[in-house]
Symmetry: C2
């Protein structure tokens, strides 16, 4: 999908490992474990793609920005895993599982700081620092809101959109903003690509949340329902709370912090008996359509194609 930035992303992988290293072996070990645990690298890819689309693209100038964005994402996941007491992520042991909460919390802080340090090594415009600092503040606020609202049967869609905007869409928007600025685009193009980033971010998170309702866990042959178990009410559940004849029973389950596996399974059955999943899929598709409509006219053809492929990829994740 990312052919046009394949070699940039390869360099990024090497630089991530290099730049989390420290004179203290333990830090290097934790940092290397974290960046090697992988991920889709969607954030740096977006930053690089948008920069490639501009007239002044320079890999040397853009790469530390792309890398800082991925490090911010990594640090934020490390803290999320501590908060969720998660043992694995993408099949790999989390930092808290491997080294304990102390090391995980502080490694997250270290990686946040390394992101800002990377960006301060070049003479970027102050608005770049500002965008990154605002991003980290927003991410934290989004997570606090989510964690504080667990086990509440929110029926308001706007509340859900606000949450996923802070959690994901603002981030992808910032990646596009920073990349477009680094590539020397005109302000109207920067603004359009910011909308593209926001839209695919919204679609990405809606799809991610939908998978948790529809996906079948290999081990138990049942949908995973992790969000419901953690008290996080996502779009299909909100829809079901609005339209299901069993809405009261669903509300009873999703607001119970002590819910059993059977209750989770029953909640999933209630949601799947409604149009909740289709409804969420339609919303995601609408965001992706809007994203494609906001691609600037002046984009080089290969970059435009990559942006469209990225949107299609998000829309076609396995259901």
């Amino acid at each position: 999908m990312f052919e046009v930035i394949r070699s940039d992303l390869d360099t990024l992988e090497d630089n991530l490992v290099r730049d989390v290293a420290s004179s203290v072996d333990l830090i290097t070990e934790v940092g290397t474990h974290l960046v090697r645990a992988g991920g889709k690298r969607i954030r740096p890819a977006l930053c690089l793609l948008t920069a490639h689309g501009g007239p002044d693209f320079s890999l040397e100038y853009t790469l530390p920005l792309a890398e800082a964005l991925e490090l911010i994402h990594t640090a934020s996941l490390v803290h999320d895993d501590v908060i969720d007491n998660a043992d694995t992520r993408r099949g790999t042991a989390t930092a808290n599982a491997k080294w304990g909460n102390q090391v995980a919390i502080l490694s997250g802080d270290y990686i946040f700081a390394r992101a800002f340090a990377l960006v301060s090594e070049k003479d970027y415009d102050a608005k770049i620092y500002h965008a990154m600092a605002k991003l980290v503040a927003n991410l934290s606020v989004g997570e606090i809101l989510q964690d504080y609202n667990v086990y509440k049967a929110v029926r308001d869609e706007q509340d859900y959109y606000d949450r996923i905007q802070k959690k994901t869409a603002d981030f992808l928007e910032t990646c596009c903003l920073i990349g477009a600025d680094a590539g020397g685009m005109e302000q109207d193009e920067i603004d359009q690509l910011a909308v593209y980033g926001h839209d695919i971010g919204m679609a990405f998170q809606i799809t991610d949340d939908l998978l948790d309702i529809l996906e079948t866990s290999e081990q138990i042959g049942k949908p995973s329902g992790n969000d419901i178990r953690q008290g996080i009410v996502t779009l299909p559940a909100i829809r079901a709370l609005q339209v299901s004849p069993d809405a009261d029973e669903l509300e009873h389950i999703v607001t119970d912090p002590e819910m059993t596996d059977d209750m989770v399974a029953r909640a999933l059955d209630i949601i799947r008996a409604t149009d909740g999943a289709d409804y969420a899929k339609q919303k995601a598709d609408a965001f992706l359509l809007d994203a494609k409509r906001h691609l600037p006219a002046r984009l080089p053809e290969d970059i435009r194609d990559a942006f469209i492929q990225l949107a299609d990829f998000i829309g076609s994740r396995d259901f």
Copy 2:
């Protein structure tokens, strides 16, 4: 002590409350609680004092830097309290005790981010961002090292100095560096004040650690010994491990994560029977003397006096 910057510090208090505010009430509540919990404000005071000492002092230019340094300190304490599972700090409930670990970890991230956001709102030199990012990285590394080395009977003084340098001295050095740069000082003066900051940071931490060995807790009429209980071996204990006839018994205690209150009391008795406390006090005094020797000749008289008073204050904390 800080007469010359009294009104600056009053403005700082107001700005701290203003700048941790968020559109989300819970964040504003946590942030306000944290910055109102007080503290000695030594970091912003140092930054402001050094800036006042330069030819180009501007409060408007320096205040966001001083504020960012205090916010970084605050955020780092919030994460320390989560790690230490502490209920109170300076007599006030910690964020983790009041709102749980999730909110505390994310509030810490938010406050770190607000510090960087503040600094990005003005057009400071990239080296300012770099100094701050490096500071946060070093702080995290220092804490990781400390937490990973608990319940080890370190007998190497240099190891201890390395730890407190990362934990405290680097921070106070950075406050002086940033303040001196903001005040428009010459490079030789900046370098000298960096040494001053480092030295009083070392003395401050040695003294803080010493108080934990000597201070009597009001409730039980015994020294608090919190560091020993947490497996943190400080200078008086290292000295005792070197010179005490009961060094083996002391080592046995400080390496036992299950140590009882009686064992802590016995460890304190062993340390207090040696010259450990005097030895640490002498080291602190030597750092303070070196600090005063590094005050640049061209400092205005009132600023020089304040620097000297600050060093004397650190040397005379209640024993």
